[in-house]
């Protein structure tokens, strides 16, 4: 056993110098009570490479965005294509990090992803020169795909399906968005509007009728006050 003359304490482990004051330790007669003998992993190298990849990616995307703005300004083509680069990058940054962080609740991710992609489509439509394809075709298609995907999740997931019911219901409600857009004259394709609204109505009804208890209990926990 070793001891420090300044701190008046014994030190376990392989220390040559006192961990508290730095003085060279002296050999000493052990105190005679049992010590736990805790060992710790050597972590001196781990903290250095902290988050490096994420920072590199952020740097590269900022660089890419900056360069495309610069080129777009210096070489005028009458078309702001750099906006597409920026919108795409924002979309990727909003999408990928949460995917890495949150491993579970795929239905929630899907809902979020559908809404985000819808916004991306509107932005692209706007940049290329508004022709309304995003509102008339892209958004209804996305919502239909979302409704079908969550339904598939419920059918194929044996353990987690009760928590997906709430999202099926919410996605079903979103299926009426194209109908609203149609009434405001933004959407032009009545066929797409009707298909989406039908699917939406279907999933709302099915979840209310068959998922009655789990939907109610989900509402109760989400809206408890």
């Amino acid at each position: 056993m070793k001891a420090c003359d300044i701190c008046h304490a014994q030190v376990t482990g392989t220390h040559e110098f006192c961990p508290l004051c730095g003085k060279r330790l002296q050999p000493a007669e052990p105190y005679g009570y049992t010590l736990p003998g805790n060992r710790y992993p050597d972590l001196s190298r781990i903290s250095a490479q902290y988050n490096f990849m994420l920072r590199l990616l952020l740097f590269l995307s900022l660089l890419g965005g900056g360069v495309s703005v610069l080129v777009n300004v210096l070489v005028p083509t009458g078309f702001w294509w750099c906006l597409i680069v920026i919108v795409a990058e924002v979309y990727l940054w909003l999408t990928i990090p949460p995917l890495l962080r949150r491993a579970r609740n795929y239905a929630k991710r899907l809902l979020f992803q559908t809404l985000l992609t819808a916004l991306l489509m509107v932005a692209l439509d706007f940049i290329i020169g508004w022709r309304g394809w995003s509102v008339s075709y892209a958004i209804p298609s996305l919502l239909c795909a979302g409704i079908v995907a969550i339904a598939a999740m419920i059918v194929f997931s044996r353990t987690n399906w009760p928590q997906y019911v709430f999202y099926q219901f919410t996605m079903g409600l979103l299926g009426f968005i194209p109908l609203v857009l149609y009434f405001f004259g933004l959407s032009t394709s009545i066929v797409m509007v009707l298909i989406t609204a039908a699917l939406g109505l279907g999933s709302v009804l099915v979840t209310v009728v068959f998922g009655d208890r789990s939907l109610k209990s989900d509402f109760r926990r989400r809206f408890h006050f």
Binding site: Y31, P36, N38, R39, Y40, R102, R221, H224
Partner: protein, 430 residues
């Protein structure tokens, strides 16, 4: 795996103090504490995993994940299986639910030690000790199957009952008039920081009996004595040289279970501030100890604690608070917390005895308790005892070990046989 929370209870609310933790938690402020038990032989990972899966159904309060509701956070049952890992990071790092099937605790091992790191949303130190004890008992029965009788093996060592997921704050709530418990700004401990998230850990081992005898001789409790030693350490290394007009405010969590005769598995603690004015340059240890003792006795009373919990619960009942959407509520909480956080200089928590029951105690050599540091409080103090050994642990973000040294010196001066052990981040390495 069997269902852990019955049909009626797929979820429960956060207890009344837990509401603050999801809001204030970040990478720098993890709100995670660590309880460890050191055994006589290296831990067998596959048995530890098996033990965890066997005992988790008995702790429904731990088998949960955190969700956001429209008005409040809530804990939903989690049917996944948590996995154990070998310790490969500094203690008390923030819990990232995605890395562990959404669980809010983490079980790791290293050599002979089993660690449970718990996000404070789940429970407090006392609740955590029960979980660690259950895990260790289960592990030991698997590791030494021939050394326990059938009767011992069949018994459920420690468990949570559904009733124990009742919120102790709510059941002890009495309407009150007092509206604020804020105290002024406290002294802020200074010093050069360690790099990035490096954390220095120093364990101080002291035999319990001589420590008890010393405290009895001085007419104080162990917690009061150690609190005074900590104050002494900060005073001699910092405040005596650079006096501050701000008092040294020591935050001490107080376990309310005994005081209120409930045994909840959720958080059930309140706190007191031991506030010492240290502007004089000739304070003696005994003066500090006397003041600490006086404040302890004044502040820890059932009535006092009742007022505090009633204030917290009462504000949650306030309709102006209840129906505010969660994001706004969080914003307000964050601002209030930032204000309140300035009053604390340091924190010290003594979780008490962590010993395992008789058939298991012989396989344990010691226990330890660690709190996570925050930039505002760069050094934190935590204590526990097991098998007749008292362990005071320092977790610090500071490069200098002067405060730890002063405390150790003081205790050794009082005749205690102190042994120290570190995690390797100390004077030698930095």
């Amino acid at each position: 795996m069997a269902k852990r929370i019955d049909e009626q209870n797929h979820w429960h609310r956060l207890d009344n103090t837990a509401n603050i933790f999801p809001v204030t938690t970040s990478k720098n402020e993890s709100n995670v504490f660590r309880l460890s038990m050191t055994l006589i032989a290296p831990v067998a990972p596959e048995l530890l995993q098996q033990a965890l899966e066997m005992m988790l159904p008995r702790f429904p309060g731990f088998a949960v994940l955190l969700r956001r509701g429209a008005f409040w956070f809530y804990l939903n049952e989690n049917n996944a299986v948590p996995t154990i890992r070998e310790e490969s990071d500094y203690p008390c790092r923030a819990i990232n639910p995605a890395q562990n099937n959404d669980f809010l605790f983490r079980v790791t091992y290293y050599d002979k030690r089993i660690n449970v790191e718990i996000f404070h949303v789940l429970t407090d130190g006392t609740g955590g000790v029960q979980f660690l004890r259950a895990l260790c008992c289960q592990y030991l029965m698997l590791a030494y199957p021939t050394r326990f009788t059938e009767e011992e093996k069949a018994k459920h060592w420690y468990e949570q009952h559904v009733a124990e997921t009742n919120d102790g704050y709510v059941s002890n709530y009495r309407p009150t008039k007092k509206t604020s418990f804020s105290i002024g700004k406290g002294y802020r401990i200074r010093g050069e920081r360690l790099l990035l998230d490096t954390l220095s850990v120093v364990h101080t081992y002291i035999p319990l009996q001589p420590l008890l005898a010393l405290c009895r001789g001085k007419g104080v409790t162990i917690t009061q004595y150690v609190t005074a030693c900590i104050a002494w350490g900060v005073y001699t290394t910092q405040l005596r040289k650079r006096p501050s007009k701000h008092p040294l405010n020591m935050y001490l969590p107080i376990n309310l279970r005994k005081l209120f005769g409930t045994n909840t598995a959720l958080n059930f603690f309140s706190n007191i501030y031991i506030s010492l004015d240290m502007q004089a340059d000739d304070l003696h240890f005994n003066e500090i100890l006397a003041e600490v003792k006086k404040q302890f006795e004044e502040k820890i009373s059932r009535g006092n604690m009742l007022e505090k919990i009633s204030y917290t619960v009462g504000s949650g009942y306030n309709p102006a608070v209840r129906f505010v959407p969660l994001p706004l509520k969080n914003l307000a909480l964050r601002i209030m917390f930032k204000q309140g956080a300035k009053s604390s200089s340091l924190a010290f928590s003594n979780v008490g005895d962590m010993s395992l029951p008789a058939p298991f105690a012989q396989y344990v050599t010691g226990a330890s308790f660690l709190l996570s540091c925050v930039p505002r409080e760069p050094i934190k103090f935590a204590a526990c005892s097991a098998n007749g050994l008292f362990t005071l642990s320092f977790a610090s973000m500071l490069r200098s070990q002067e405060i730890q040294q002063a405390i150790v010196q003081k205790m050794a001066e009082d005749g205690l046989e102190v042994t120290i052990e570190t995690n390797g981040v100390d004077y030698e390495s930095v």
